[in-house]
């Protein structure tokens, strides 16, 4: 069970990683517009 002392902090580190990724996404307007990209892909160029 001692392995948990290593695995739980590792899991938490992963969580911190995903929070940082989420922060990047919100700061870069990734959630601002959820409709236009879907139609923009129809444009050829």
């Amino acid at each position: 069970m001692e392995v948990l002392y290593f695995l739980v902090p590792l899991a938490l580190l992963l969580a911190v990683g995903s929070v940082l990724a989420f922060r990047w996404a919100t700061r870069h307007d990734q959630f601002d517009d959820l409709d236009s990209p879907a139609v923009r892909i129809l444009n050829d160029d």
């Binding site: 929070v19 700061r27 236009s36």
Partner: protein
């Protein structure tokens, strides 16, 4: 070769062909539409088209956009504009093509759902007004975006991030809590249990100190100054609950005995933050559409200064100025006509579907459209002082006031948290006397098994699911409390124009020679007057080849004349053509406007022009009556017109009021509300905006103006009244689900808490039951009875027949 309008686009072209086209593109489209059986498109499209408030040749005032421009380090400028009229992939493509078409534009990015265009350009090569004019060419009108909006965007991003962090924390704490509840703390691994508690505490602290801080701030704001318990906001019990739970758990962690409750606290914070965010986003969308209202007024006006006419920004107009309003223009300010006479389309202010004649001395209001001849007017009030300005500010203030909906579920879960804490305290004390060894275990079980999330989620989840379903049926609900209020509605107020009727004039009755109508239609072919359009579409639908008219002249305010097949044809007001009042009585009684046709000096035909009732109006009204809601007509139309529609649809005479000004409508709705009625108002004109806000539920119908979208709580994007029926169905289904959810979670909590307090539940069982209760509520919300169309018992009522069909039998 003759000059005729293109059969598809209406643009003038020279051709002998019939139908005539201006280009092969139009011809292809025309034949495609016809071969697909969609010829009705032309009737609809050629009906009275709402004149665009944006002038294509308008000199856009660069000051209008000045506030929103930002200069970047590389010398380019950047600004965000609102663009009206973008709906599809093609719009996105076209607008984003701007850099290739306009020199100096570096980048153009369109957010379709919000109608927001981000532009970057080189200021030495191109200016915002140039770009706005380019957009206007394609039918997209651009408006400046206010600074406050950018700030709001940042705040929204902040709270989205908070939600992300709060959920991450909540889920991780939850994992450890499950381990603890399933016996980690009673096992031999005491070291692990302690570690898990400390880790949970560290994680929960992030939620409690940072993510949840807005609750404490608002709770504190509602407590200072203290005005009594009923003035406390829902944030107060939430704050107390969070902190009581947190401090208790911290003490338990530090001292090494007692129970921790970090998981529930962090889930609570995350759930509440999500609910608030959804709410705030709804408010933001409402305010955004408020900004598009600017489109109701032109940005420039033609001011007459001595002998010359100069284009000036509308904002610079003041009382006393004389302005020229050309045919097709929108009146820029309130004023008195000093020269010329014309017909004005005033639906925007009065809701009257027929244009009204104005002459010297008539009062006109900003926002009305001049349909026939140029007039000069002396400004009496401009900008916010004008009638339109006042209606706008009224609506805006009302939007701000009512937006934050008090969430009953928030309130409930706040007190629930406190109640559970109290119950656990009592349980602990009671069991300490009975059996000290079991006290701790029973208290944990109670804390774990109680589920504030099920309670907190029951209402918002059910309402959100219902709103999503409604949206798929073309019903957009802005505030979720509307669903709750819909059920109590006992008076439904209709604005007749465009809601019960089609809102487009049609020839409803013909007395006299039919051929005369075709000849009259030829005379009217070039006119934009709605009555003329009605004649033309009537002639087209009769399927006979169009005649050509020569020497067409318009007598403003009276009618038109021209020569058709060598005969002199005059069409216009019966009084102008010398028709006796008495002959017009049947038309007036049916609520139609009479029109006379005189050929070679002899009156040969009389027409009744009126608005046609929508087919489904009668059945929708029956559904309403069956629910116990009293339908009322409150219309700006002529009293006879309103009375005729009311009588056709079976309204009580007292419930039909015509000739109502916006102020009277507002007063009437407030009067109804004072009497204790719950009022739903359905309307489509700007004149209804104030009333829509005043009503308990304001419903705007597509084809209405943007102002209504702001004022209304609900808007229906499908035409007709059937969506209204769906709306009632959706709200019934949603409320049923809410009650079921609240019932499930209350019964669950009462039973399990009692059992736990009495010592029948082990912590492990509690840990299993808690998520199950949440899942039950989620499942119950998702499978709510889909709002099936209450399939109208479409009995064929006599009054289901449109007015026109009925009147036509009079021939």
């Amino acid at each position: 070769m003759k000059t005729v309008p293109c059969a598809h686009c209406g643009q003038k072209t020279t051709s002998d062909a019939d139908p005539a086209f201006c280009c092969s593109g139009c011809e292809t489209v025309y034949h495609t539409i016809h071969s697909a059986g969609f010829a009705q498109y032309y009737e609809l499209g050629r009906g009275e088209r709402a004149p665009s408030a944006v002038k294509t040749d308008a000199a856009f005032d660069s000051d209008t956009f000045k506030d929103s421009i930002r200069t970047l380090p590389d010398g380019t400028c950047e600004a965000a504009l609102f663009v009206d009229g973008v709906h599809c992939a093609a719009c996105v493509w076209l607008v984003e093509r701007m850099p290739t078409a306009v020199e100096g534009v570096v980048e153009s990015r369109l957010n379709m759902s919000r109608g927001r265009l981000e532009l970057r350009w080189q200021p030495d090569k191109v200016s915002v007004p140039d770009m706005a004019v380019w957009l206007t060419q394609f039918g997209y009108s651009a408006h400046p975006l206010h600074r406050a909006d950018a700030a709001r965007g940042t705040a929204e991003r902040q709270s989205l991030f908070r939600i992300g962090v709060a959920w991450t924390v909540a889920m991780n704490v939850m994992l450890m809590a499950v381990a603890l509840y399933s016996g980690l703390d009673t096992s031999l691994e005491t070291g692990l249990a302690t570690a898990a508690r400390w880790a949970s505490m560290g994680l929960a602290a992030i939620s409690v100190f940072w993510a949840g801080s807005e609750f404490y701030r608002r709770a504190w704001a509602s407590m200072r100054p203290f005005r009594g318990l009923q003035h406390l906001s829902i944030d107060v019990p939430i704050t107390i609950g969070i902190w009581a739970g947190f401090l208790h758990s911290v003490w338990a962690t530090v001292s090494g005995n007692g129970e921790v409750w970090f998981d529930s606290i962090s889930v609570l914070i995350a759930a509440l933050l999500s609910a608030r965010w959804l709410q705030r986003r709804g408010t933001r969308m409402a305010t955004e559409s408020a900004q598009r209202l600017l489109a109701l007024l032109p940005s420039t006006a033609r001011r007459v200064d001595g002998d010359e006419v100069i284009e000036v920004p509308v904002a610079s107009l003041a009382a006393g100025h004389v302005v020229e309003v050309r045919a097709g223009d929108v009146v820029p300010a309130d004023g008195i006509v000093v020269q010329g006479h014309s017909a004005l389309h005033r639906a925007v202010i009065t809701g009257e579907s027929r244009p009204e004649d104005v002459t010297e001395g008539s009062l006109v209001s900003a926002g009305e459209t001049n349909v026939s001849a140029p007039i000069l007017l002396r400004v009496t009030a401009a900008g916010p002082e004008s009638r339109l300005g006042k209606i706008l500010s009224w609506v805006e203030s009302a939007t701000v006031r009512r937006a934050p909906v008090v969430q009953k579920a928030d309130w409930l879960s706040g007190w629930f948290v406190l109640a559970v804490l109290l119950a656990s305290l009592i349980t602990f004390i009671a069991w300490s006397f009975i059996d000290t060894g079991l006290a701790l275990e029973h208290t944990i079980a109670l804390l774990v098994i109680s589920c504030p999330c099920a309670l907190g989620m029951a209402t918002p989840l059910a309402l959100t699911v219902a709103m999503g379903r409604a949206a798929r049926k073309g019903i957009f609900i802005k505030y979720d409390d509307v669903l709750e209020r819909m059920e109590q509605v006992d008076v439904v107020v209709f604005d007749k124009t465009g809601t019960l009727t089609h809102g487009v004039l049609e020839v409803a009755a013909v007395v006299g020679a039919r051929e005369a109508v075709l000849m009259a239609a030829a005379v009217e072919a070039q006119s934009t007057h709605p009555v003329a359009r009605a004649l033309v579409s009537y002639a087209q639908s009769s399927g006979q080849g169009a005649e050509r008219a020569q020497d067409v002249t318009e007598v403003a305010g009276s009618g038109m004349s021209g020569i058709v097949k060598g005969r002199f044809v005059e069409v216009g007001r019966p009084a102008w053509l010398g028709v006796d009042e008495a002959e017009l009585a049947p038309f007036v009684a049916n609520g139609q406007s009479p029109v006379a046709i005189r050929i070679d000096g002899e009156v040969v035909a009389l027409l009744g022009v009126g608005d046609v009732i929508r087919d489904e109006s009668a059945s929708v009204l029956n559904v309403l009556r069956a629910r116990g809601a009293r339908p009322v007509i409150l219309s700006g139309d002529h009293p006879e017109v309103a009375a005729s529609v009311g009588a056709t649809l079976g309204f009580a005479a007292a419930d039909v009021m015509g000739g109502q000004s916006p102020e009277q409508k507002l007063a009437y709705i407030e009067h109804l509300r004072e009497q204790g009625h719950v009022v739903a108002m359905i309307g489509d004109g700007v004149n209804d905006a104030a009333s829509l806000s005043a009503a308990d539920v304001g419903i705007a119908i597509q084809g209405g103006t943007d102002l209504n979208l702001v004022a209304a709580d609900v808007f229906l994007t499908r035409s007709g009244l059937e969506p209204l029926q769906h709306l009632f169905g959706v709200s019934d289904a949603a409320l049923q689900t809410v009650r079921r959810n609240l019932g499930i979670s209350l019964i669950y909590n009462v039973i399990t808490i009692t059992l736990a307090a009495l010592g029948f539940v082990t912590p492990l069982l509690a840990a299993v039951l808690m998520p199950i209760s949440s899942l039950v509520v989620v499942f119950s919300s998702l499978v709510q009875r889909s709002a099936t169309r209450p399939e109208a018992k479409r009995t064929t009522h006599a009054h289901n027949v449109p007015v026109s069909a009925r009147a036509a039998t009079q021939e």
